[in-house]
């Protein structure tokens, strides 16, 4: 038998190697974003709820024509960004940029001015950096950031848009009632401060998509969440526990959510709601749709789990008009 030359060996190895790789490129169907395989990690301890300073409201709902001014006033009413951001903090802002289909006037994605104002406030309070991110279910992140207007607004305010690339790992959810573990975007769990900035929209299954629902943007395998959605969303919130929730109700999507696309479905409410309590913020936002908070599955579940309170009569609310 003749000897195999080095040249032949390398060629043969390449052929065999490539033909073994190629079947690996076969389509595998939906939800095939690769995960970083990491054994179930223990999450960082949930941040203790920031106590409400004196002379500050538990929840603020501010109405006015200028979204930037309204956002600033809402933050001021609950103690200012300084209550949440300490010097040198690594801040993540999680708006709703769920698709790349429409501009901000369609109320499908969070108002760029609201997000940019929060970026500005956080940097002003001493944050080391402010990253803004979401993982759209339709369209590439880059196109969604551009079409929603959030990308340009954030960068103009000094923040950074982050593309949620594969740094997901399976994390245990110790307080989870239905879910005991799920796949989360690691940097969100590692940040010093997470500011949750949903836009108030109609949603057929959940009823409304608000703060807790907005957290679905930081996980993988979202289709599988839709069984027992309300409890599962509350379970997610019990792990992520954003310290600040700002509900963008400048424009509200009243029907055909969460994607929208019809300007007739958009109601201009010019309102921003802010609270450290994600359940209370969602509960107040629900009333803007003339719904009772306990009618929304994840609000009721979050209240039951002790993540916050949906009883708006038991908390101090600052309702202001600019």
């Amino acid at each position: 038998m003749s000897q195999i030359t080095r040249r032949e060996f390398v060629k043969g190895a390449l052929v065999v190697g490539t033909s073994t790789f190629l079947p690996g490129c076969q389509p595998t169907g939906p939800a095939s974003t690769p995960t970083v395989a990491v054994p179930t990690a223990t999450p960082k301890p949930a941040p203790t709820a920031t106590p409400v300073p004196d002379q500050s409201a538990y929840l603020a709902a501010v109405r006015g024509a200028d979204p930037a001014a309204v956002t600033e006033r809402a933050l001021a009413a609950i103690g200012g960004m300084e209550r949440f951001v300490k010097s040198g903090y690594d801040v993540i802002i999680k708006p709703n940029i769920c698709n790349a289909n429409h501009g901000p006037e369609y109320a499908s994605t969070t108002n760029p001015v609201v997000v940019a104002t929060l970026v500005k406030l956080a940097l002003g309070a001493g944050a080391k950096r402010v990253r803004v991110m979401d993982a759209p279910f339709s369209g590439s992140p880059q196109s969604a950031y551009a079409i929603s207007g959030v990308g340009d607004a954030v960068e103009a305010a000094g923040g950074q848009m982050e593309v949620m690339r594969p740094r997901y790992s399976e994390v245990a959810i110790p307080d989870g009632v239905d879910l005991k573990k799920w796949s989360f975007y690691e940097p969100v769990l590692d940040a010093d401060l997470v500011i949750n900035v949903p836009i108030a929209k109609h949603h057929s299954l959940a009823g409304l998509t608000l703060g807790a629902k907005n957290l679905m943007g930081v996980i993988q395998n979202r289709p599988a969440m839709h069984r027992n959605l309300g409890q599962r969303i509350a379970d997610l919130a019990s792990l992520v526990r954003p310290q600040l929730t700002v509900v963008d109700a400048v424009r509200m999507l009243m029907a055909n959510g969460p994607t929208g696309g019809n300007l007739d479905d958009v109601k201009l409410a010019n309102t921003v709601i802010a609270s450290h309590d994600i359940v209370a913020a969602d509960a107040y936002a629900a009333t803007l749709f003339d719904k009772r908070p306990d009618q929304i599955g994840y609000i009721a579940a979050g209240d039951a789990m002790g993540l916050g309170t949906l009883d708006l009569s038991s908390i101090q609310i600052a309702e202001l008009s600019l």
């Binding site: 052929v15 490539t18 033909s19 790789f21 190629l22 079947p23 690996g24 490129c25 076969q26 389509p27 595998t28 169907g29 939906p30 095939s32 974003t33 690769p34 970083v36 698709n99 790349a100 289909n101 279910f137 339709s138 369209g139 590439s140 992140p141 880059q142 196109s143 079409i147 982050e162 593309v163 690339r165 594969p166 740094r167 949603h203 057929s204 299954l205 289709p223 599988a224 839709h226 069984r227 027992n228 959605l229 055909n256 969460p258 994607t259 929208g260 696309g261 019809n262 479905d265």
Partner: protein
């Protein structure tokens, strides 16, 4: 070494460099064809150089396609210079050269087989006359674009992804890696791993073409390539050709080295201008400097063209083949899941699609796939949408822009959003809501239309423990549905989705 030799060697070096640059450029153009690369020059422009695709597409669609003027220019240049495309520019030719062995095997192949490219060319053009372009899968540029798109780039993507994921663990690399990752994904690299169906056939085709080199170098170019056949015919008519002077010492080196095997010892080391690809190896290495490229019609070997009988046979064969395709059951009954890109009608697509795969590369979700059997052999490797792999994005019109012939029309976004590809329908036995009374309605949630094409029936139901809840059951409104397939893509049922887009049941 005399001046002539030095000049010849410099030209040969220029040829090598040009080959490399052209190959790299062609790969880059395919990379840039992806929507998110947002480039203005793409594989679309590469295909415009292709005289075979140009001729076939214009015959088949009965239209003058002005965008193919570069192809006409290439034909004119071939008339002037010879078959230089094959030796200097063709990316498949360069690939073949780079992996070729040093010498041909001892096997003897009768020169009459050199007619085969012209037979294939005749079959192709006759079929085009009758509105069929299936044989353009044998065009070297379509082979190249299709192979880079479906084979090379997905592997590159996968390897890069794996490397990045592995290296993320290294702490000090995280920052720069992340910067690189986000700079590439969603721009030059798609934000999803590209994955194409039918990889066995696609890779076998390319591997086969490359493997044939171990029988004779440039086997594809010599005995199969229809574009080579066309350019050879034109080169034969041309002005400039290789000539051997009396200085020849009959060492036989050129005949041995000729990568097209067209230099004949017994024929005074002359070559057939329809076979010579101007690689310039012979003139650069000739010890007697006896080889020139002359501007007058120098003496050369006779060409193996088609006889009249063979041309008629080709005509008959193409008519017969076409008839068979048209009477197949598949042609009479379109496949249920034969979903075409928006705006593309079946007959126009089959008559104009050159099977290059540029649209596959452009599609940002990789929902456009090369058809296998869905539209019969006539539609082999034309684009179809497979929503389970990728939906047609609501804000995208790139496939029409990438298509070099207009087989996929260019639509403005507003028109595209109103143009149905197909219609979704729900299988109630698989749908979680209909069959298990489970809350789901992801399909309704995802539907991007301002007035959703999925509405909900509400029914009172109860959990096993008796707690009542309102069950929502999805119903497709077919008059609204445009068949984008986002519902099918996101349906959480494993295996076939419970909601599937098919051709319009009533259309």
């Amino acid at each position: 070494m005399t001046k002539r030799n030095r000049t010849a060697q410099r030209w040969r070096q220029a040829r090598r460099i040009t080959q490399a640059v052209a190959l790299l450029g062609a790969v880059i153009l395919v990379v840039l064809t992806a929507r998110d690369a947002a480039a203005s020059v793409t594989a679309n422009h590469l295909m415009r150089l292709d005289p075979l695709a140009a001729l076939a597409a214009m015959l088949s669609s009965r239209r003058w396609l002005i965008r193919f003027v570069p192809a006409i220019a290439l034909l004119a240049a071939t008339l002037l210079l010879g078959r230089f495309w094959c030796g200097w520019l063709c990316p498949l030719g360069t690939l073949i050269d780079w992996i070729s062995p040093q010498h041909d095997s001892e096997r003897v192949i009768d020169d009459r087989w050199r007619r085969l490219p012209k037979v294939i060319l005749a079959l192709l053009l006759f079929a085009a006359l009758w509105g069929n372009l299936t044989l353009l899968i044998l065009d070297p540029l379509t082979i190249f674009v299709r192979s880079i798109t479906t084979l090379l780039l997905p592997v590159v993507h996968w390897v890069l992804q794996g490397l990045l994921s592995a290296l993320y663990g290294v702490a000090f690399l995280e920052g720069p890696l992340y910067a690189l990752d986000t700079a590439l994904h969603g721009t030059l690299l798609s934000y999803k791993q590209p994955a194409y169906q039918g990889l066995a056939l696609l890779s076998a085709a390319l591997a086969g073409i490359l493997a044939l080199n171990w029988i004779k170098r440039r086997f594809w170019c010599r005995y199969l390539c229809p574009l080579g056949g066309l350019l050879g015919l034109v080169a034969r008519l041309g002005w400039r050709r290789r000539a051997v002077t009396d200085a020849c010492i009959a060492c036989g080196r050129c005949a041995r080295d000729c990568r097209m095997g067209t230099i004949e010892n017994a024929d005074g080391y002359r070559s057939d201008p329809s076979e010579c690809i101007l690689c310039l190896d012979c003139s650069a290495d000739c010890p007697a400097e006896a080889i020139h490229y002359r501007g007058q019609r120098a003496e050369s070997r006779p060409s193996s063209g088609l006889t009249r009988r063979q041309a008629l046979q080709a005509l008959g064969l193409s008519l017969g083949g076409l008839a068979l395709m048209r009477v197949s059951a598949r042609a009479q009954r379109p496949a249920q899941y034969q979903l075409r890109p928006p705006g593309a009608t079946e007959s126009e697509l089959l008559a104009q699609c050159v099977r290059c795969g540029a649209c596959l590369r452009a599609c940002p979700t990789h929902g456009l796939q090369p058809a296998l059997y869905e539209s019969g052999f006539e539609g082999f490797w034309t684009p179809i949408l497979v929503p389970r792999l990728g939906n047609c994005e609501y804000n995208c019109t790139t496939c029409g822009q990438a298509c070099p012939t207009g087989a996929i029309p260019i639509l403005d976004l507003a028109t595209k959003r109103l143009t149905p590809i197909g219609k979704a329908s729900i299988d109630p036995d698989r749908c979680l809501a209909w069959s298990e009374q489970a809350p789901c309605i992801v399909c309704e949630e995802m539907c991007p239309l301002p007035e959703k094409a999925i509405t909900l029936i509400e029914r009172e139901a109860a959990w096993p423990d008796g707690t009542p809840y309102t069950l929502q059951l999805p119903v497709v409104q077919e008059d609204l549905c445009i068949g984008c397939g986002l519902c099918e893509h996101k349906c959480p049922v494993n295996g076939e989705a419970a909601i599937r887009v098919s051709i319009d049941p009533l259309g």
